[in-house]
Symmetry: C2
Subunit: 331 residues, 2 copies
DNA sequence: GACGATCTGGCAAACGTTCGCATCGTCCGG
DNA sequence: CCGGACGATGCGAACGTTTGCCAGATCGTC
């Protein structure tokens, strides 16, 4: 194993100089620095992370906790975060909490001591989990708690856009199939829809749920939607939309003929579906990227210091699952 | 921060005893051990990982490198590995190489020094990457190189099962839509299909490809399949099957009426599809689990020391995309 | 009752890095 | 030409843990 000592000897300097030349280049004269870096490269020196963490107290790594890696929604966020972390030259440890609040807290308390910051994605037990990180920097993704920096999608704007789209098609009664009761984003979406309905004035809103944020949730909701006599529906996420469409088909109803469906997230199942799903897209990779940036942003690079809250735009992607209502349904 | 010193003082022993009591409990007398663990719990002692890694040289953590976290196939493996790692009490660092051979090698050389072993999932540049880990223990998942331990699915058996199923339905000409040219598993699947066709005798095999292992690959393959006049098709993975079905629908062909389709992997899109996809399922979480176990298996627990190669079973899941061929197509 | 085997627990030296402090040389203003 | 200031580099002490070695204690056996 090559250590600073070897590099120092090769470059004819002391180990302190080696350390400085590599971690804080501007603190050492250019010729010396070059000699050191050359020697380091030649010897194939790789700093021992453990030693540096031990001494310096920072690890140069971030932690990312997601509820479920198998969920394409979180996978996309993780991917974005990974890419950005790589770009920024920091490590990223991804941990899956398995949708379990307890495991989430545990994961954080295990991760916190060995990282410089934690990205907490759609936390299932914010209070306890935030406690567990004992003051370490944190960024919340897809969640918000006063006083903590967060990265969220502009659900309100998205909902407005969805409702405008449906109204333009001629729909006057729209159902919302909600997600989990304690979900922060479900709350935002409901609020956004209500505000949008108020603003538009001539669209009636029917709120359903809570439902599980999976295909099964869509199955469960389908019959309620039909009974509500709404001609269009917005779902908590794309998986729910998938389940909804499946169940409607079983009941002999056509999408978008009998019912228009708008999903959320643009998980990649959305475009695989028949018909392909009209949905609200957030750039999830950007969420991951932004979260990483919030944590690595140094005061040195002033000016572009990120604001306390990042809100990412939401875009309506119109595909095949929305259409004008059947004439019979029109008033 | 609570250190061994604090615990030692509280328990009235020396720091060596604390260290031993916690890391190698049987080397210290039961009463002492209890006093130490009690003190540790009371003070909320958490060993400093960096210090322990630095001194002991092992990190108690494994690394997992996958080509693409957003691919449900790899996400499932990652999830299984995470779960097992948690159970075994070791850490797991997941890194996404973005399908880039270079990044893969880089990831490994960054990960290797700070882990006790690496799980390499469907590597895109095995030789160079294996080189990069400088002798550190490794397990290959979904790939095989002589001399290295690996966890693979029994593609041959799976292909035999698929072909038997199709023959039983009455198909006599079956196409295979292959994956990437340099893919190890594509090779296994082709070989398995050939062997199965030989063995069954009365099924003709048409090999197509290589194709990209995504939906687009299926699009590209669809017309070739039709032209081949095969009445059934096996695809490299489920995403290809999805693309295939989409394109067939565009051409006015019905699945399974005009063509039966068998996918591979049972990625969760398989059951969302209309018709739901008949596919070959491997328990991907088990792959992740098995890989972790290969690396944490200590010589101490002899007897159940894992064999050099783990081959996981492949199961045929019959859903709606396979049916007997149209009578007209029969000889 | 003594001797050896066995076990328990303490001492102190690492592991490789970072960083406060000291030192030395150099440059500039007076 | 001198004093002060500053920039560059070296010295050495941490960081918190593990572990080889050794001393003392305990027990069984002759």
């Amino acid at each position: 194993m090559v250590t600073v000592h070897d590099v120092a000897r090769a470059a004819g300097v002391s180990i302190s100089t080696v350390s400085r030349a590599l971690t804080d280049p501007q603190r050492v004269a250019a010729p010396t620095r070059d000699r050191v870096t050359a020697a380091a490269r030649e010897l194939g020196y790789r700093p021992n992370r453990a030693a540096s963490v031990l001494r310096a107290g920072r690890s140069g790594a971030l932690g990312l906790v997601v509820p479920d890696l198998a969920n394409p929604y979180f996978a996309a966020i993780a991917k974005g975060a990974q890419a950005q972390a790589r770009e920024r030259g920091v490590g990223l440890f991804v941990v899956d909490s398995d949708e379990d609040p307890e495991l989430e807290t545990e994961a954080v308390s295990g991760l916190a001591p060995q990282t410089d910051g934690i990205i907490l994605c759609s936390p299932r037990a914010v209070e306890r989990t935030v406690e567990a990180l004992e003051g370490r920097p944190v960024v919340l993704v897809n969640h918000h708690v006063d006083g903590l920096p967060s990265v969220v999608a502009d659900h309100e704007a998205g909902m407005l856009r969805a409702l405008e789209h449906l109204r333009a098609l001629g729909h006057a009664k729209v159902a919302y199939v909600g997600g989990p009761a304690r979900s922060w984003s479900d709350g935002r979406r409901r609020a956004g829809l209500r505000a949008a309905a108020d603003r538009l004035g001539d669209v009636e809103l029917v709120e359903l749920g809570p439902h599980r944020p999976q295909v099964a949730g869509g199955h469960a909701a389908a019959d309620l939607v039909v009974a509500s006599r709404a001609t269009a529906v917005v779902t908590f996420n794309d998986l729910v939309a998938v389940g909804l469409v499946e169940r409607l088909r079983v009941r002999g109803l056509d999408v978008p003929g009998d019912l228009s469906v708008v999903g959320c997230d643009d998980a990649y199942v959305a475009e695989l579906l028949a018909p392909p799903l009209t949905t609200l897209r957030t750039d999830l990779r950007d969420s991951g990227r932004a979260a990483v940036d919030r944590l690595v942003a140094r005061p040195g690079k002033d000016g572009d210091a990120p604001r306390d809250d990042v809100t990412l735009p939401v875009e309506l992607v119109v595909r095949g699952s929305t259409a004008p209502p059947r004439p019979a349904d029109r008033p």
